[in-house]
């Protein structure tokens, strides 16, 4: 019933996220979903991966502080009000949501990730240079 999630403590500085991605990639661990909660000083990276044991071992081996915790994977109807239905349920029962994030839908073929880049103009430039078209608001709504 529960899903085991891995949380990693990261200092908020350049290259730390890439470092985690590299460590996991080197261990052939696939990241299925992630969310990063950050403050000015540090961040907590939460990951769902295809091999928790291996991920924990390799992250620890690389000196990172990690913790496994249980979360729930809840199917949300893909239509207006889908999420609201779940939230209302929880609300009515006074259940609080500490955090939530999206998971790639394998049936959809591609997932859409939302980034907050800084400086944003430079990010757009880099994406364009690499042939990656960012979605406009209209395109996002239509996808």
């Amino acid at each position: 019933m529960f899903v085991n999630q891995i949380a990693v403590f990261l200092e908020n500085k350049v290259g730390r996220l890439a470092e985690v991605a590299r460590i996991l990639s080197d261990a052939s661990v696939n990241i299925r979903a992630l969310s990063l909660a950050d403050t000015s000083d540090f961040g907590v990276l939460r990951l769902l991966v295809d091999n928790n044991e291996k991920a924990l071992e390799t992250l620890k081996y690389n000196g990172l502080t990690v913790r496994e915790s249980r979360v729930l994977a809840v199917p949300v109807e893909d239509r207006p009000g889908g999420l609201l239905k779940i939230l209302d349920m929880m609300d009515a029962a006074s259940v609080n949501i500490e955090y939530m994030y999206a998971y790639a839908n394998p049936k959809g073929g591609t997932a859409i990730m939302i980034f907050r880049f800084a400086p944003i103009a430079k990010a757009v430039e880099i994406l364009e240079k690499n042939g990656i078209a960012v979605l406009s608001e209209q395109e996002l709504a239509a996808s």
Binding site: A7, F9, T39, F42, T65, V66
Partner: protein, 430 residues
Amino acid sequence: MSAQHLPDKESTFAPELLAQRQLELLQASLNRAHKMVPFYRERFLENGAAPQDVEKLEDLARLPFVRREDLAAHYPYGMFAVPLRDIVRIHTASGAGNKPSVTGYTKNDLALWETLVGRALKAAGVNDQDIVQIHLDPGLANWGRDYKDGAEALEASVIPLTPLSLQKQLMVLSDYRTTVLVTTPVSAGELLESLARSGAAPGNLALKNLILVGEPTDAKLREQIEKELSLTTWLHWGLHEVPGPAIAFECEAHNGLHVSEDHFYLEIVDPDTGKPAKDEGEIVLTTLSTRAFPLIRFRTGDRARITSAPCPCGRTLKRIHWLSGRTDGMALIRGVKVHPSQVLAIVESILGFVPLSCKLFTPSKEAGQGLEVRLGMDDRLFSDEVKELEKIMASVETGLRQELGVPVCVRLMEQSADVCQNQALIKEPL
């Protein structure tokens, strides 16, 4: 030389007379300590010494040193030499471990301190025409009281230590026409910066004299403050334990600080060997007149160079040049002495365990020139919820701030390779 700068009679004793007085007071003080404080009695016994063996001042060197650890070990009243009913005030200063140093004063002790702080202020020209404002961190609250008493004894108008924001302090400074400000060099620097930011013309201030306490000053900062605010700075040296902020003070020659030798016996020792140092070393003090809390050969941890050459001001009291750096591993944070082991002990009491790594940095910009504590993340601290991590930071920050009385900022860091278990050293930030 203006009349208010004239030194008192005791500051101008001929050396022989001063030495004679010191010896008489010292013998009486040793006798009292021996009789009333078991710690001293045992120490004397261990060293095969008795108070009557001290026949001349140099004989004092036969007695062992007293350290901050000894004060902590006899927490709270073990070092008091008078019954509690004779104590009228109790002060707490940060110690070298779990326990603070607790000192007491009799009514006469307080009167003595008033006189000594008054003497130091008088040497800076403070008189009954002055408006004296005291601006110190909460960690120096004891000194705030001593300065209030000393300035009131001179019949100056005193604005005592009050927890106000920097902006409010500046408002008082300007609107109340403060003429004398007692503060730490760090705070003085902040006031100056804040004044410059506000665009106020420093010429509009009535401030004439700035008494700097708590830390040795660097000549450049002093010069800058004196020039930009058109005032004179006066450095005072003191202790939290002995107890008082103005044991040594500058005269108008501004060339070293006169030690009130009529009430303290001064030694400068080599911090490693404990033997008398030629010129530069650690300040060791013995109280001559305090009743409630006699200290015999107290290792202050402060470094100084001594000058015996006559001073143009006419005072015969020896002068010390206060040097930066310490001999005891303590850090001066905005004038407040903080020992790394004390910080660790507080952190442990808050968390319930000793964190795997705890690095201390000061002065820290992030903490307003205060203390920055970097906790290495480990399994016991970590949570997948940012809220929980922020709670840890806030509780450690609040706890340390309350105990130390200086600004504190706690940061969570990734565990680094150079982890030192249970060790905290205070370093300058990189």
